[in-house]
């Protein structure tokens, strides 16, 4: 990844932890440009590219800390998830934040624990590189990929995008070729794994057996 800066946004209100993440990503000679925000409303305004951040470039990757007790990392996560084609999110958790699946199954690209950031560089690199495949796609192909991964039928995708079914099929063929993934199932797996779509939707029979989601881990 030489010669290519990677813009990393860390959302954390704990300066010490920010410094540790900075250390883990390497010194000034590394390709990582670290930006820090504390997760308030302006963080979301920036990521939504609303004024005054209309022209701000989104980061390549977001490191989102889940800090106890008054911090609202999980709400920030849910807000970011609402943003169309948001950057990939790596969660920095700690004991007390509950099971990792709360995030990994709902659109986080990875989950690390704050007290061991040795593999942070590896995780960031993997997330960024896997996302770079998406640059081979046009915006339209990206939309088609997302709708396929959400389980929409060709005719539903066509209706949603106001194009013909034949055009959807052409987009599908082309994005399979560009990604080197030859099956619909493979596309779905890829989209889930990089956090483009959350894991789900589950069908009704199954959801009836699901316990209600806990509001939040008691200590976060």
């Amino acid at each position: 990844m030489q010669n290519s800066a990677i813009e990393v946004l860390i959302i954390d209100d704990n300066p010490k932890d920010v410094q540790r993440a900075r250390d883990a990503l390497g010194d000034g000679a590394s390709p990582y440009h670290l930006h820090v925000m504390v997760g308030g409303e302006d963080t979301l305004t920036y990521l939504r590219q609303q004024p005054p951040f209309v022209h701000a470039l989104p980061p390549d990757v977001i490191l989102l800390a889940l800090n106890p007790p008054a911090w609202h990392g999980s709400q920030v996560f849910d807000e970011i998830r609402q943003i169309d084609f948001h950057p990939p999110i790596i969660i920095l958790g700690q004991a007390g934040n509950g099971p990792a699946s709360r995030y990994l199954h709902t659109g986080a690209a990875d989950y690390l624990f704050k007290d061991d950031l040795r593999s942070l560089r590896f995780a960031v690199e993997q997330v960024v590189m896997s996302r770079r495949l998406l640059r081979k796609l046009s915006r339209r192909q990206l939309e088609v990929l997302r709708l396929i991964a959400e389980g929409l039928a060709t005719r539903d995708i066509a209706a949603r995008l106001e194009i013909s079914g034949k055009t959807v099929e052409a987009h599908r063929g082309e994005l399979m070729r560009r990604l080197g993934i030859p099956t619909v199932a493979g596309l779905v797996r890829y989209a889930i794994r990089i956090g483009l779509v959350p894991l789900g939707p589950t069908h009704q029979d199954f959801s009836a057996f699901l316990p209600p989601e806990p509001t939040e881990p008691s200590s976060s």
């Binding site: 010669n3 990875d110 770079r132 640059r135 915006r139 990604l179 099956t183 619909v184 199932a185 200590s219």
Partner: protein, 210 residues
């Protein structure tokens, strides 16, 4: 599976709140797990496990190795990792087949995680073992021809199984089957493919999407 009695007791306490869960059927050391799952000596009479809680303890923890062994057993139960060490990204475990990953020192959500994992398996009671095999192979991203070759049946038979799976599970798309296969831990998610060529960063025209 835990070699620390005190930790095992903590898990027992945390599970007590889950309706319908018997206290752990067995607590065994990791090197015995394959024998246990295959009912080999000395576990001929072992009760089949519905769920494995795999503790990852220092020193010399073998979490990923043990997980790989469990995955080598056909139709193995789902696995929740209980970690005392932070052993790299959690995706390392979830990508290699664990259903969930939690820190041991906070078991307050263990009951919820267990119920979630068990609930995801319930719909499988409605399908045949053969259909589960087909679902696994669909979930791995194989083409119809590849599934047919693997199972030594015709393409038509695979398609019939797929249609039947969708009907019985109430899922109306291949994508939905893939989501479900992952959710029910029939397949793992690989680390995603990545662009191999490293080149100078292109202009960020499409930065939003990348």
């Amino acid at each position: 599976m835990d070699d620390r009695p005190r930790d095992a007791q903590g898990v027992r306490d945390a599970l007590r709140t889950v309706a319908g869960v018997n206290s752990p059927a067995a607590i065994i050391a990791s090197q015995h797990v394959v024998a246990y799952l295959k009912n080999k000596s000395p576990f001929e009479d072992a009760v089949p496990a519905d769920l494995i809680l795999l503790a990852v303890n220092p020193p010399g923890h073998h979490g990923r190795g043990t997980l790989a062994q469990i995955r080598s057993v056909a139709h193995h139960p789902p696995v929740i990792i209980l970690s005392r060490v932070t052993d790299g990204p959690a995706s390392r475990y979830l990508d290699t087949g664990a259903s969930d990953y939690m820190m041991k020192d906070d078991l307050s959500q263990l009951a919820h995680a267990v119920r979630r994992v068990m609930a995801a398996r319930i719909p499988l009671n409605a399908v045949t073992p053969r259909q589960i095999e087909v679902l696994e192979l669909i979930g791995k991203g194989l083409k119809t021809q590849e599934i047919a070759a693997r199972l030594r049946v015709s393409n038509k038979t695979v398609e019939a199984h797929r249609a039947s799976l969708m009907g019985r599970l109430g899922i109306d798309s291949v994508a939905g089957l893939v989501h479900y296969a992952i959710r029910a831990d029939l397949v793992e998610l690989d680390p995603p493919p990545a662009e191999k060529v490293t080149s100078a960063r292109p202009a960020r025209r499409r930065a939003l999407s990348a």
